[in-house]
């Protein structure tokens, strides 16, 4: 809607040729500088390190030696890599779609409820979003504690006596269930708010017209609302996929509660274990570059379709 009006207005004015102003470029400069310093340098350092032999000795001042692609060869031959990658992709997709699904549900609910209920919902969502990560994971760890956790207690009260003393973090399957709770719980607010913002842009006339034509609730959602907020949904899902692929701290903090570490490592944890845990900085750098490429590969088709949509 907004885009159609703007294109017509620019094509109307753009007949007159103007000299190219310098201001936009000047305004871009700080952002580009920050990106170069904040992202460019670490990436450059990462690439250089991944091509060197860089361990504990080098960290304390010994000159690093050039190793070519040895680190990549070593990492790709490592039999820990494939399971970690598979696990990460599965975890990322499940979480991203779950988050967007629940977020969409909450957004449509917010649209449907009364003013003050909506405000309560928004406040609650914001509070969940504002909870610091360490605090949130700690709370979940306590909730699911095998000895003193509320979850086990509730289950026992409900008659599931086998839940008494059940260690949620001890098996990969239930570990990832808890991890999914944490990750989804923390990211749903952002998704719900974004989609809700998109939904408020849908004009009431369109919906009224649909209702007059006899469309029911489901039809309005699927045929009218979803297509209209598709750009928002698409961006949010893309962001969520990228974020969930690099999830690290939640897993790490849960592992500290006692978990099968190597069977619950995701890519971020694998890099941490290599680099910080085993002081194999060059190997960790190589995996990081690999993750960067993986992220690009996962999101490239998606970004392309987004850009096409923009151009259309």
């Amino acid at each position: 809607m907004a885009s159609t009006t703007s294109t017509t207005s620019t094509s109307g004015i753009a007949i007159r040729r103007r000299r190219r102003p310098a201001t936009p470029y000047l305004l871009l400069l700080p952002a580009v500088a920050v990106l170069l310093v904040g992202l460019g340098y670490p990436v450059y350092w990462q690439v250089v390190t991944s091509l060197q032999e860089y361990g504990m000795l080098q960290q304390f001042g010994a000159p690093p030696t050039f190793a070519g692609l040895d680190n990549y060869a070593r990492i790709l031959a490592d039999d820990r890599l494939v399971p970690v990658v598979a696990r990460s992709i599965a975890f990322c997709l499940v979480n991203a779609f779950l988050t967007v699904g629940i977020g969409l549900g909450l957004a449509t609910l917010m649209r449907a409820v009364h003013g003050w209920v909506r405000i309560v919902m928004q406040v609650v969502l914001l509070l969940a979003w504002a909870t610091p990560l360490v605090a949130a994971v700690t709370v979940f760890r306590w909730l699911f504690d095998y000895r003193t956790g509320v979850v086990n207690w509730l289950l026992v009260q409900l008659g599931f006596s086998q839940a008494d003393g059940f260690a949620w973090l001890a098996q990969p399957a239930t570990f990832f269930l808890v991890a999914t709770f944490v990750v989804v719980w923390m990211s749903v607010p952002f998704v719900a708010m974004s989609i809700y913002a998109g939904l408020t842009q849908v004009s009431d006339e369109v919906l009224e017209a649909a209702r007059l034509d006899g469309a029911n609730g489901t039809q309005i959602l699927v045929r009218i609302l979803l297509p209209l907020v598709r750009p928002v949904l698409a961006i949010v899902l893309l962001l969520q996929i990228i974020w969930d692929l690099r999830v690290f701290a939640q897993i790490r903090l849960l592992q500290d509660g006692g978990a099968p570490v190597s069977e619950t490592n995701l890519l971020g944890n694998f890099i941490y274990e290599l680099g910080v845990g085993s002081q194999d900085f060059s190997g960790a750098a190589a995996v990081s570059i690999f993750v960067l490429l993986l992220t690009v590969a996962l999101s490239a088709p998606y970004v392309r379709s987004l850009m096409k949509e923009d151009a259309a």
Binding site: M56, Q59, T138, G165, L274, V276, S278
Partner: protein, 443 residues
């Protein structure tokens, strides 16, 4: 020697996050300039790990340091044992942000010493600080040939804390052999109570069974380290531990070295304690006992004052005597990048002074200077501490040991054994994984 306390761990990681942001301002270099041998006044930082060093000792260091170095101050920052290798790896090479003096686990000292992270302690200073009297195995962990880099801070070994009331009620006596111990704790186990509360991933306690059976984790042949889990003695020890875990502990196989004292104390909600026996370092005493109020009015444990209820014994050996347990403890070193090495050395002189060594011993921390062992052996806790420390063993001082700990390889191995895995097969599998790691070859 690393250990977690659930709440303390969480609290420290939170404070750390806060502390890190404030770190940058640590090295303000005043324009005082050094005159006549007195070092420039400055603020130096000491990193201590966990809550092992009691507040009383910390206060002493701060006050004493300020007195000996007018104008200078000492800041003590507490690090979490779980993260200490990470923190040291990133902080020590950075001259702007390095702590001046650091505590490091004795098993981690070798890795950092070889990497050149520490400032050499001159032979004169070494002699002044105690020289030959300092605990030799710890000095060795922080030396390259004759050059000393990291000195012992304190040692501690683990012994058994038990509920005497429960043991007596079951008609059990303090065991004299490792087998008797296993049988006793098995008998004490019920659905709600661990006879011996032990986490599956807790290899630092678990390796006592390996050592007791004359097993080794790794041996050095020539310049190469070899993991020796498959050695028959090691396998025997691991199998015996597997049996004890399966028969006597209700804890999950994934549980790490946790706050075991919670199992031994009377639960706050009332009822029976969740464990009859635990194995822990000597300072665990102060987390045990009945609740009481200290001088400030805070609720604290009375340190096992009720001797009918709580007591201790040393883990018995296979054929009686005392089992060799994991020798825990830590070393102290000056960062190679410290901006104030003279002040750092002044702090070392305070730490190795008779006063401070006495205080360590009185608080149940094995003093670096062996002359002060007598002070420690003054009560039953000290006696058992000295007795177990004499029989204790260090983990392999291999260059890659810190990496092995960092990657939690033993946690994983012990978890799999605790889950009932085939010990011989697991031992072979992990030998293959550990040998290159021990020699410092990554992954």
């Amino acid at each position: 020697m690393k250990r977690t306390r659930l709440t303390a761990g969480v609290a420290t990681s939170m404070t750390l996050a806060l502390a890190l942001t404030a770190c940058g301002s640590g090295t303000d270099s005043g324009d005082g300039g050094s005159e006549g041998g007195t070092p420039e006044a400055a603020d130096i930082t000491l990193w201590l790990n966990g809550s092992d060093t009691p507040d009383e000792l910390r206060d002493f260091l701060v006050a004493e340091f300020a007195e000996e170095n007018p104008g200078s101050t000492l800041t003590i920052e507490e690090q979490d044992w779980e993260d200490v290798v990470t923190k040291l790896t990133t902080a020590l090479p950075d001259a702007q942000n390095t702590p001046d003096v650091v505590e490091i686990g004795n098993t981690q000292a070798a890795t950092f010493t070889y990497a050149g992270a520490f400032r050499e302690i001159s032979p004169e200073l070494y002699a002044e600080l105690g020289g030959e009297k300092l605990l030799p195995s710890f000095v060795e962990a922080g030396s390259i040939d004759d050059a000393k880099y990291a000195l012992p801070y304190y040692y501690g070994s683990r012994y058994m804390f038990f509920r005497k009331d429960l043991w007596t009620k079951a008609g059990l006596e303090v065991p004299t052999t490792l087998q008797e111990f296993g049988d006793a704790v098995q008998e004490l186990r019920t659905g709600e109570r661990s006879g011996f509360a032990l986490g599956g991933q807790d290899w630092r306690n678990g390796i006592s069974w390996v050592f007791a059976n004359d097993g080794e984790l790794a041996v050095k042949e020539g310049d190469e380290w070899t993991s020796t889990l498959s050695d028959p003695s090691t396998v025997k020890g691991l199998e015996q531990w597997q049996d004890v875990f399966a028969q006597a502990s209700n804890l999950p196989p994934t549980q790490t070295d946790e706050a075991y004292w919670e199992f031994l104390n009377d639960p706050e909600k009332g009822g029976e304690p969740e464990g009859a026996t635990i194995m822990a370092p000597g300072w665990a005493r102060w987390s045990l006992g009945d609740l009481t109020k200290n001088d400030e009015g805070d609720e604290v444990r009375d340190g096992m004052a009720d001797t009918k209820k709580f007591d201790i014994f040393a883990l018995p050996g296979v054929d009686g005597g005392v089992a060799p347990v994991f020798a825990g403890g830590s070393n102290l070193a000056v960062s190679a990048k410290s901006q104030h090495p003279e002040l750092a050395e002044s702090l070392l002189r305070i730490i190795y002074s008779d006063d401070y060594q006495t205080m360590l011993a009185e608080n149940g921390l094995g003093p670096a200077n062996t002359d002060f062992n007598e002070v420690m052996a003054a009560d039953k806790f000290g006696e058992v501490a000295v007795e177990t420390a004499e029989a204790s063993k260090l983990t392999p001082a291999a260059p890659g040991w810190a990496a092995v700990e960092g990657a939690k390889v033993y946690e994983e191995l012990f978890q799999k054994i605790a889950e009932g895995g085939d010990v011989t097969a697991l031992a072979a599998q992990y030998d293959e994984k550990l040998t290159p790691m021990l020699n410092g070859q990554a992954g």
